[in-house]
Symmetry: D2
Subunit: 402 residues, 4 copies
């Protein structure tokens, strides 16, 4: 019992196999389709092809329990394997550990009934279907302040009627089902009274209004605006218990924001390697770029940001594994630091690569675009900082008063 950063042999082996799979199978696909990475038309075919390969390699959905075909990785195990998968933008898709499906599996494993698990979790974990998580709303609804939740679920005979608008719903188009957050008591501004519902993608009351043309493409699936209009679901659609939705959201969010950190850390490492490839091959002013001091400074700053990000992720993973969640602000700190660090890494990598780094010839500009919104989603960093400061003050007052 002491501070340790050892990795269990079986996790190390799994990560090594993941790295090989990403290198040998995923990256070739990424390079092949890089010009159309933002083209959703081919997405399903690519996903099916990659997930089939991952399934064959025994790498699919390692985070879910063995019962669902995975390995029941704890958060620390995920930290190792997800970073390895994240080394390609398509790696998490291939392993079926990308957002929002990964977080939804996590939630379903913890909160859903056995029947719901068979119906929704089983096919999701197996990569047979996709899902989405419908919480965020256009103003004045639930954004960075979840209490503003405006979508309602009203009791009807034998079930509920959901009404409201959601947006920035990643992967909604093509999703087999949605987990929908709706208000079942109280009014916008109240904290209480939200419930989660499982809504089939073909429910006639659920409409995809449009796709948002966002900076990132959520690994093809894109982000949509979804309109629920007299969307009727049965009582069996309630996920967990009525009025406990905000609580379940926390169950989902703290680990979900950390798995984002893990995957983006992998991609930041890739961006750094792409820059290394450039600066070790290109010359300028009579020497290799890698030997110029201003380049070395950027390389070093990347290594420092990578190391600090990884250390914070591993620490937070340990907190989540051993404290039954995040009783403090570890995941807020990790999210804030890592979302900014990976942005800096991608930015430096692109700068080091010069003109070609801004082009489709390298993947750097794509990575840089994909990472940027992470400073906003999963809670804007301003909100996390506000929360961290509040806790800091509260903890100080407690210490100080003692």
């Amino acid at each position: 019992m002491a501070i340790r950063f050892d990795i269990e042999p079986e996790i190390a082996a799994l990560a090594e196999r993941t790295r090989e799979f990403v290198r040998d199978v995923v990256i070739p696909v990424e390079l092949e389709i890089k010009g159309s990475l933002h083209d959703a038309r081919d997405a399903e075919a690519v996903r099916a092809r990659l997930q089939a390969a991952a399934r064959a390699a025994g790498l699919l959905a390692p985070h879910v329990g063995e019962r669902w075909g995975g390995r029941g990785l704890d958060v620390r195990g995920q930290a190792i394997v997800f970073e390895a998968a994240g080394y390609s933008l398509l790696g998490p898709l291939a392993l079926n550990i990308s957002a929002p499906d990964e977080g939804n599996m996590h939630l379903l494993e913890r909160v859903a009934t056995p029947t719901q698990q068979e119906q929704f979790l089983a096919p999701l974990a197996a990569g047979r279907v996709r899902s989405c998580f419908a919480m965020t709303e256009p103003p004045p609804g639930a954004g960075s302040d979840p209490r503003a939740l405006a979508t309602t679920a009203t009791r009807v005979a034998g079930g509920w009627r959901i009404d409201g608008t959601k947006w920035f719903i990643t992967g909604a188009r093509g999703a087999d089902f949605a987990i929908v957050m709706a208000r079942t008591s109280g009014a916008p501004g109240d904290r209480g009274g939200a419930t989660m519902f499982l809504v089939a993608g073909d429910n006639p009351g659920m409409h995809i209004v449009r796709d948002l043309d966002t900076l990132d493409h959520g690994l093809f699936a894109g982000h949509s605006e979804v309109y629920f209009n007299e969307c009727i679901v049965g009582d069996d659609a309630v996920l967990g218990e009525v009025d406990r939705g905000f609580e379940y959201a926390q169950v989902r969010l703290a680990p979900a924001r950390l798995t984002h950190c893990m995957r983006w850390l992998g991609l930041a490492r890739r961006a750094h390697d792409l820059a290394l490839g450039h600066v070790t091959r290109r010359e300028g002013f009579g020497s290799k770029l890698a030997e110029l001091g201003m380049i070395q400074q950027q390389l070093a700053d990347n290594e420092i940001d990578l190391a600090a990000s990884r250390a914070l992720i591993h620490h937070t993973a340990w907190v989540l594994d051993t404290h039954g969640g995040d009783p403090g602000t570890a995941s807020s700190i990790a999210k804030t630091f890592v979302s900014e660090a990976v942005g800096r890494i991608a930015d430096r990598a692109m700068q080091m690569a010069g003109a070609v780094g801004t082009s489709g010839d390298l993947l750097l500009s794509r990575y840089w675009r994909e990472m940027r919104p992470f400073r906003i989603y999963d809670g804007p960093n301003e909100t996390h900082r506000w929360s961290i400061a509040k806790r800091s003050v509260a903890a100080f007052k407690k210490r100080d008063g003692a």
Copy 2:
């Protein structure tokens, strides 16, 4: 005679009319086509439409001499008017003052023969044609180090034969002519021996190999790779004198990098205003976003970056106007500072706007993408910093030895 920041009434009036034109004519078009800003198919129609309106408003090409339909604005006058035009991404296109045409007109006005001016400058200034500037080459050719120039122009009977590859040639597709930099003496690594040639876009020896899928879209026109293969031009295609190309490049580059600063400053101001629009309308945590301290800090930092950028641009414009060019590093300092400042402004604006700021619903993410490469083109900021440091040391040694 003293430090003054007054604007002459006629310049102020022109800027005001430009602002109104951008607000009433250009921005509506920008909003209308924002979803397809990266779609080159409609570019020519949009350009024609906007430039016709600018021509009607008497605003076209104000930087060229009256003989060419402009107003012969000096660099300070450009600083005022170009910033006003830059307030929309399409404003400079509308006024025919966007890169690379604006810099090419500047160069042709100073270096071309009367015949060449009639043939090339007149239609370019009138917006009847577009042009490109073909200097940058793929490695190991001319990139941030121009001495690496590898494209050659060889004497043939009655003219020259140009051979070589260029890339990141903005606006090459559809250009009526190119100004091409080629080596006429010496070898790669030498400083001397470059010549500029005027090459018609339909010259059978000039081939557009492909379009680069870049982060920015150069106001629709995009950046292409261009291959010159036994491209034959006459003696009258020589721009200025043989072997003085590097010198002319400096004539073009110092003001060109400053006009980039002016236009991007205008767009940074727009990004700031878009953020202001968001934070003054949206609420969060019980008050308007604009009343939250972390938002106020970002607003203030934007104002500071805008003010410092503008002051540096105005100072450099005065240097260029009154010192016959840039005898020191004023334009390097302005370029380095402004390219980073506008990037920070766009980044903060997007952050303040939250999720919607990363979407096509606002133009912020587009602006953020368009601005980023400016830290690389017109000389990577690392190269400018190296040059600034060298001059700083040289000036110190001179002072110190005195």
Copy 3:
């Protein structure tokens, strides 16, 4: 009439003579006493010696009117000359243009009666006496929020009785007189009702409680806590009109914060030169430090910060000269940017100079310490940012509503 950065010949000549004076007279003294710069015991002798030399050179108090022995420099003229003087930490002291005396002269010239001017301004401008400005109070009194003013002035027969505590009063020890801000109507929290009083340093109701051991040493004079206890002054001690003190404070503060910028800019330039001296002489890893990329980056960033600071100062000086004060936020923007920029410059200079830079062998660590509090005094930068943001929002709403 256009943007110009010309300097009038007579100002340029005065600045050149100031530079020579600083180089030949002031810096030798600074180097001689550098080990005891924080030792107030010798301060008066040093001040007398330096000011005598400046007087002989015709350089004393160039900002006051000719009637008071100066040259009536406008703010732009001050920008040129004060930067030149600031090149040594002792330069402003030598020229009698250091805080708080310089700001007090400015205020007395504008607001005092002829009799008060003869009594207070004349000897102050001549360097025969020193003064202080007593506004800041310990909590919960007037700090960054002046409305909290708690010191009171109560009507008594033939005059006023001042009671209250002030702290961080620069130069209080040894001051011949103080300008004291006291509440004459309203209550703490109100904006209105302050009056300024001229209080002789030997008034038996004014007590120096202690000297604060601050990071900076205010050019020897230090900062004290001052207690006013039944401090009786006559009606002729009122500076300007009763109840207009907050208004006069603004008359003093906007230019005073800019003259701070000017002087610190001069010292930042000196710090940069000290670093240049180090890196051009010292070797490391086989070459001169000045040839290493990471050093070059710091040199360039210093040049950029110097240029941007100067451009903002010159712009703000023009605003103050031509708009009858600062109707907007130019001086807040300049103060915020410059206070942070000079800190960065001094920090980089010290870093470049390595271990010796942190020692008394160079003056860098002293400069770094002296500059730091400028991010706090004359309004903490947070307060200026808040004010800039408020104005930004107000201006946007006006534009947006039009």
Copy 4:
């Protein structure tokens, strides 16, 4: 076996007792003498008093083996306890774990002969004497590039003669002995041929030339310039083996740079708490400062920097404990990040505390000064970045070639 951040109960208990000791015994002394913290005259008395208290509390020198009165803490144990001790500037002095003694004990425990250990380590660990480490030389000697070592040790009958100058030798004045690095073969610029010698403080060939007036005060002891002139020592003065001095320097430096991180992390936490004390008590603009967004941002950034620093320190401690030193760049990364992070924390803390934060009333300005040189000593961060970049490139080439 997995990633863990648990702390063994006995370490946790020791850290808790250390925290109590710092709070109850050390901080009262620090507050009592804060006005004279830079006054070396009282230093020995304070040291003796504090170390007596620590000895009585069983807290003295916990890092050395039990044989020397300590607890043989491994590096991870040190990370916990040293951070706790660092919560006061005097805590490490009290526990006898401050530089350079702590690093010297580490070195003597690993390299000295039993006889040398009895003579030098025993009294040092017991706090009966102090020591210094004489490696750094004025230019052109050993600075950030150790190969420049110019001090020589020449064979004489029965021993060695040491000649040369050292500076920035922390604690030299009053040291009972010095560990001196001198060249025994090769020439400046060579890597090889250095030897370490144990030199008694009263050796007539060792002279303290002067004390350097540095920004930090090395916990009273100060930094001196030391001149070795025909300094004769016996063969038994050789520490370890002849010509292996550079190797031993590494044995000392990697952990020494990490223990600096640990102690400064403790002090950064204290600075943060002092700021918390200020902002939770002071009001401004109608609310507690702690409720203003710009303050909350600084509080949050402090918490993030603290967390990231701690995670990197813990990771590096684990590397050092389990890999027999630092085979990579973990300690360079930790040193670079932490030295900058603690500087940011102290700077923000001072800013949040406003004027009073720059004064001796709080200890913040003192802490800020003490921390700054850590970006320079133990290798300037530029040198570490250069080293990190070199390793990054080498590792990439190996990966890439595989």
